[in-house]
Point group: C2
DNA sequence: TTGATTATTGGACATCAGTCTAATAATAGC
DNA sequence: GCTATTATTAGACTGATGTCCAATAATCAA
């Protein structure tokens, strides 16, 4: 443990921003696998070590970059008196799918990286996956409170199903469109028999 | 295009078997990411090029090896007069989860490899993913024919949901146990209101 | 201005995947 | 036995990741 001394050369914030921008630009152009760390550093006009000073792996950098660039995607759906649970879910999923049709390849690469690097896995889960899981869980719980969903159903489990449904399609490169958003919604909010 | 001539040194079948065995052994011991292709070839007592003569990547080799070693896992469920659709599904999922609790790390690595290599992705999907998807689709279609499932539900979509549910948990390293198999089954076969 | 401290840089280094090549080995047909 | 053919082997080579290091640059405190 070193005690932080005073002074010292300050971190160059521009370098970090340039690295994120370079990474996103190159990866959207050539694809995640075809962009080397050296290429990103070079395009950012920065030494390779500077990148490693900030992130452990390419995945950590890209997670940061894509998170920053798309924080408005898959945002908390805006609740309104007039919007029903099914409508909110369908809109949310449609938004997510729009994002995935743009950056789906990057997300597939990040999911892959998470399988190969336990440290990145928890970072990815905590900062990206888990929050979105909770958004849908909350949405479903509220729908349950409004009696749009049977009280004996488990919002967490349903959120698991919902995310699984489109992860599976994303990872197997099947289409994610509005029709699929509707199918998921219909399945979740399918009219059910009264319990006993 | 070369026309296959007669003669020539025959392929050494033992080399292929030794490579598959070495790969499985090393990977189960050290983990997929910690085993190099050179180490597999070395353990098999074979030149590295011999491995490349048979498979394009480590993933292709391991897919072959794990497929061969576990073809009895996730096998077609045995139908019986007395077994209901829910029971068949729950048993099937329980079997799959037993397998995943043994070789889940390998499958996560293969799913990751599929995201990084389009050629492997189709090989993996065609030989491994798709057949299992169809098993569950068939199981659900039969249940539908026996009126255990409403005719307005879509077995293919449900199979997508089911696989997604446990892929999602597998990829996020959450537990896959008998309780989860039951939860999936209950959700799929949940009593529904009559249509209209 | 000087000294301590921290960031950045450029380069070396080990390891790995994947491609390629020349030499050698094992077969079939003659 | 001889030739054509194909598989195997050992090794070289390129490009990539990740680690390490010494030199230099930029700041604070005195």
């Amino acid at each position: 443990m070193t005690i932080a001394g005073t002074g010292g050369r300050p971190v160059n914030a521009q370098a970090g921003a340039a690295l994120k921008a370079a990474a996103l630009h190159l990866i959207r152009e050539k694809g995640y696998e075809n962009v080397s760390i050296a290429a990103i550093a070079s395009k950012a006009g920065v030494a390779r070590q500077t990148l490693y000073n900030r992130w452990n792996t390419k995945a950590d950098l890209v997670l940061d970059a894509v998170f920053e660039a798309t924080h408005n995607f898959a945002a908390e759906p805006v609740r309104t008196e007039s919007k029903s649970g099914p409508l909110l879910l369908e809109e949310f999923l449609t938004n997510v799918f729009v994002h995935l049709n743009v950056d789906g390849d990057i997300l597939r690469a990040l999911i892959a990286a998470a399988q190969q690097d336990a440290t990145f896995q928890t970072a990815f889960y905590d900062s990206f996956v888990q929050p979105r899981e909770k958004m849908i869980t909350a949405l479903l719980s509220e729908a349950q409170a409004r009696n749009e969903l049977s009280p004996d159903r488990n919002p967490e489990m349903l959120s698991n199903f919902i995310h699984g449904a489109f992860w599976y399609r994303l990872l197997n490169r099947k289409t994610l469109d509005t029709a699929f958003a509707k199918e998921i919604t219909d399945e979740v909010f399918r009219p059910h028999a009264d319990v006993r």
